[in-house]
Amino acid sequence: MKRHILIAAAAATLVAGATPAAAANRLIVPNVAVAVAKSPMMVQADREWNRLGARPGPLAETWTLDGDVLNRLDFYGGLLAGTTLFREVDRRNRPLPKLRADMLPTDIPTLFEQSYRIAQNTSLFTIDSVAPATLGGANGVRFTYSFVRQDEDVTRKGEAVAAMVGGKLWLISFEAPALHYFDAGIASARTIIASAKLPGK
């Protein structure tokens, strides 16, 4: 395990090194409401997090505690029908599935799973549970998942809460290696998710 963490850390360093200077990381101060994902969604953290300069997509944002390979909290702020969950990895040959305005609550984890399978190059991805939940006062869905990335033998666990409001998808997901990091970070992630406020709600 230790070896993988080292590799992961090295990979994170490489990724960080490739990030343009303009997209700098920023400290998230606890107990202050902030808008996330270039959207009107507001959340409040109970401890310090780091906002990464690199975004998964135009209306998305990533926070981390120890580096995004070890834990990451992704915000998706009001994605429109016809767009993808995050940036395409290979649009021509392996396009990501597109959002539909008429998606059912169960369609959200399904879209999430397909997007991850394609982007992460993995057939080892499972949705473990799907249950009703609210996000920022809107009725939605909470789901848990686990997956293995290619070239790793680390099992990652994730938990997400999502809602469709007015045909737009709002989603916050936390994921980390199942060993230690998921349990260490999930409480703060849940606090942030519970603090979410959506426009008009």
Binding site: D102, L104, R117, N121, S123, A131, V148, D151
Partner: protein, 410 residues
């Protein structure tokens, strides 16, 4: 790193199309003339050992690769599936040769098989899903073994310092799916035409000796190209078959390959068993899992083609109908939900008992606003699978009260 496999593969294809570096340096092969008959199987000289400095280097790299593969979570360790695939290999190449092979079945939904020079053989789940029968599987494994026995990767290594056979298979569906980039030698080396032909013939000799149908293998290329083109067309791109540019302009004339394989099968007075039923039995429940992996690739056209091809073999079984329903439901374009619902109903009418079919039908109906019937289907699903991971959500969607124990997880 995660995209390296694909990038590497594309580069390999470009390279092959542009310059054919490996083939160009090796002696030109008279690949066009069909051979008169299948070659005799040579005497087995025992497990291969590296013989010179180059080969020792190749083995060391192979050992590193194998260590990675062995630890990979993508290896399917189900003893029954491993015993089945190994059994087919051993039946094809014979017990003595089989002893020198360490076989890894990988859960990667891409058509690929390969063998490292140290005796590590891989077959990916995408290949198992696409096999028409056991005879074809035997031919693919026998083909890889023939490369190994003839030390083809060493010849390539000496030329190119890179080797595996992935490009041979993957070239035909290079980017329709996923690729695993495990190990330095997963480098998508392309064997030259003479070597491919030798391996084709060697593989078929094994297949014939084992009593399998020798015809089974002949159209595998055609099917892979057709599937890839179906995927491309569905994505609004031009089909690749028939275009004589890039990779296909200079590299393996697959039509010619089909021709000589078919001619050989005829000459071998093929009476063998294609082994469709035994393959289905051997894959067992994995067949359904591989189908599910395929559907989730978001390759609508390719998957639609593949399902129809599987139906040509098995007929439209309840399982294939239900999987096709999933394919339409996951795409979810206008009109897809009605098609999906129709397919699920057909599956149910055929007695397909998998509760997932009712779940799929229920969700497809709800997406069309057919509330009462959709909810009834979800209730039927929940009766069959009360402990399903999504039971809490589906209970709410089915209009059932939430039991105290099934609230939102925290």
């Amino acid at each position: 790193m995660k995209r390296l496999g694909l990038a590497r593969l594309s580069a390999a294809l470009l390279l092959a199309g542009a310059a054919l570096p490996v083939a160009a340096q090796l002696p030109a092969a008279p690949a066009a003339a069909p051979p008169a008959q299948l070659p005799p199987i040579p005497a087995w000289g025992g497990t291969l050992e590296p013989q010179d400095r180059d080969e020792r280097g190749l083995w060391m790299m192979s050992a590193d690769d194998e260590q990675l593969i062995r630890g990979s979570r993508f290896v399917i360790d189900d003893p029954a599936l491993n015993a089945y695939v190994r059994g087919v290999l051993c039946k094809a190449v014979g017990a003595d040769r089989c002893q020198s092979v360490r076989l890894y079945v990988m859960r990667v939904p891409v058509f690929n098989a390969s063998m490292h020079p140290n005796g590590m053989m891989q077959i990916w789940s995408g290949a198992l899903l696409r096999m028409r029968g056991e005879a074809e599987l035997a031919a693919v494994l026998g083909h890889e073994f023939a490369h190994y026995e003839r030390r083809h990767s060493l010849a390539g290594f000496k030329q190119a310092r890179a080797a595996t056979d992935a490009a041979l298979w993957a070239a035909f569906i290079p980017i329709a799916g996923l690729a695993v980039s495990l190990g330095a030698l997963q480098g998508f080396f392309i064997y030259n035409q003479a070597q491919e032909k030798e391996a084709d013939l060697g593989g078929l000799s094994f297949v014939q000796r084992a009593g399998y149908s020798t015809a089974a293998f002949a159209d595998v290329w055609e099917r892979l190209i057709a599937e890839e083109d179906a995927g491309r067309v569905a994505r609004g791109q031009k089909p690749r078959a028939g275009r004589r540019s890039g990779f296909f302009a200079t590299h393996p004339p697959s039509a010619e390959r089909m021709t000589y394989l078919r001619a050989l099968a005829r000459q071998a007075a093929d009476t063998g068993d294609p082994g469709a039923a035994s393959l289905r039995a051997g894959l067992g429940a994995w067949f359904g899992r591989f189908l599910e992996d395929q559907v989730k690739l978001n390759d609508f056209g390719g998957t639609e083609w593949l399902l129809a091809d599987l139906a040509r073999r098995d007929g439209w079984t309840g399982q294939l109908l239900s999987t096709r329903g999933d394919l339409y439901r996951l795409r979810g374009q206008d009109g897809d939900m009605a098609i999906a619902a129709g397919l699920y109903r057909e599956a149910l009418a055929k007695g397909h008992a998998d509760p997932e079919t009712r779940r799929g039908l229920g969700l497809a109906l709800l997406r069309q606003g057919q509330q009462a019937e959709g909810q009834a289907m979800l209730k039927a699903y929940l009766e069959a699978k009360p402990d399903a991971g999504d039971a809490a959500m589906l209970r709410m969607m089915a209009g059932l009260p939430s039991p105290a124990t099934a609230g939102p997880t925290q």
